[in-house]
Amino acid sequence: MNNTKKRNIICTAILAVIVLALIYFANNYLDAYIVRILNLCAIYTIIGLSMNLINGFTGLFSLGQAGFMAIGAYTVAIFTLPLDMRSTIFYMEPMNPAIAGIHLSFVPALLLGGVIAGFAAFLIGAPVLRLRGDYLAIATLGFSEIIRILLTNLQSITNGALGINKIPDNANNMWWSFGVAIVILILTALLINSSYGRAFKAIREDDIAAEAMGINLFKHKVMSFVVGGFFAGVGGGLYASLLGTVDPKQFYFTLTYNFLLIIVLGGMGSISGTVIASFIVTCGLELLRTFDEPLTVAGYEISLFRPGFSMVIFSLLLMIIVLFYSKGLMGRTELTWDRIFNFFGKMKSKKAPKSTEGGSTK
């Protein structure tokens, strides 16, 4: 018992070092394309985690993530935009004087984005979290659309449909995106394994029983929602900084579907699943680009390969995964050291008889 514990601690330490070294390496030696994709992976992980907290662990079927992201993204965009560039960007309607003079550096802006998103989650959560199931889903989706519409219409604050460009590039550095992602990952894991996390899971399993166990449903649902909103806001802030530009169309409600897809693919209620799925989805989309490029075989161009084909393949792959791994890659389990060692232990014990078998069959 103690031995495995010790082993796990050592393994975790080694992993931490490896991850740091990898980040260092990637950040310094890999090309901008790969770094960018990795950054996206990290940001998607953050937002996937935030959504998994709400949907996977607390069992609230919420589709509002795009809205929280938008709030975080715009907060970072508005407040980190250099003062001297504001009149250029807000060329159609000048920025509201109340905020025109306020400039924040990246970290405070990022945190503020999270806080405002969390506050928005509180405001919307208070009425809406009393709803159940699909009704909650459509109400939260509606909320994210309302946010987007506000962003379109509050021109003096958000620059309306023009969006905000030339946002200083802070997140295109892997330390930022991965650093924040790791912190949020750890926080989520700690939260989930705390008494509050158990309460969230209890609500997911059976809310009536949870309430009968003295858990204030409403308070805990709001908590989960607010924490999720905060994380998503921070993720949105990083996203804005990475892309350097935000506009309302970016945060269309279909954006949320991407994260729903990630958490279901990884496993609703699995932190490690979310991380894995974020990487698979983000990198998969890039890898599949090959299918968009014309393929010539022996002088003949196969007309199947043209732009759009990768997306068709992607949707098909997605369907296949959903159909054959309906609980997601990880289900509700986590990738723990014990599991990994057990897995390899099994492999080994399987391998031994197999090698003898191999001789007879081949």
Partner: protein
């Protein structure tokens, strides 16, 4: 209805744990519970029996806050708890089990128990997440208490099993254990022996008695197994169509013609 002298006396009576006054529940046209007056004293085991659909579970649901009575009042130690939310009532010392077992199915037995202790933890979400000393201490205490309870309820060796994988009988036990984990004063059991064979029922009867004594509880239970009810109850209430058709000691109830007619039935098939 004006409260008569007796009920005024009862209000002052410290021994009374739970009292309902004219508790009524209507679903559309159906009056599921009609003007129910209950008086449950400390350390008593009180049973609520009656034909199916008599309104027993509904009465439980009102007492525990799942439903708000259409009219009438509920007092816990003289405090009006009518319409309070279920979690608040639980925190006031009322725990329950459900007619159709409602465990946290996919969670471990241990988690099922420790969740019931969550409300007593006073650390906020930040200190719990960040593992600040206060929260760590609280967590440790919760764990110890949960282990102890599991031991006491004979569930210690399945503590890591997923709740839904337990055999039915153990699930019933777990549900009772989970209710006990909230450290209740008043325990409400809705058909705890449902789905048990006579032998198991007998074991359960003994175990309820034991628990009542060990934990110093007041127990209010619904049951159709008459051997259990008659053996352990101090008092019995009988409902039919929402109305109270009898109350009293087991002996009184067994000889109450209305109850026999509506519920117990005459045993015409005496010994084969």
């Amino acid at each position: 209805m004006t409260p008569d002298n007796k009920s005024i006396n009862e209000t002052i009576d410290k021994n009374i744990v739970l009292r309902t006054e004219n508790m009524t529940m209507q679903f559309g046209g159906v009056v599921a519970v009609d003007n129910l007056h209950l008086t449950i004293r400390e350390h008593q085991i009180v049973a609520l029996i009656g034909p199916n659909g008599a309104g027993k579970t509904t009465a439980f649901n009102m007492i525990t806050g799942v439903y708000t009575p259409s009219s009438g009042k509920i007092f816990l130690h003289g405090e009006d708890i009518t319409g309070m939310s279920p979690d608040k009532i639980t925190r006031k010392g009322v725990a329950r089990t459900f007619q159709n077992i409602r465990l946290f199915k996919d969670l471990s037995v241990f988690d099922n128990i420790i969740i019931a202790k969550h409300f007593s933890m006073h650390s906020n979400i930040f200190s719990a997440t960040l593992r600040l000393p206060g929260a760590v201490r609280a967590e440790k205490k919760m764990r110890e208490e949960s282990e102890e309870l599991l031991e006491r309820m004979g569930l210690a060796d399945v503590k890591d099993a997923v709740a839904s994988s337990l055999p039915y009988g153990q699930q019933r036990h777990l549900e009772i254990a989970r209710a006990l984990a909230t450290k209740p004063e008043l325990l409400l059991l809705d058909e705890p022996a449902a789905g048990m064979n006579p032998q198991e029922t007998e074991d359960l009867t003994a175990s309820i008695k034991q628990i009542q004594q060990d934990f110093n509880l007041t127990v209010f239970l619904i049951e159709h197994h008459m051997d259990l009810v008659m053996e352990i109850s101090d008092r019995i209430y009988v409902l039919d169509f929402g109305q109270t058709i009898g109350k009293g000691t087991p002996a009184e109830i067994q000889n109450n013609p209305r109850v026999v007619e509506a519920y117990l039935g005459v045993d015409d098939d005496a010994e084969n």
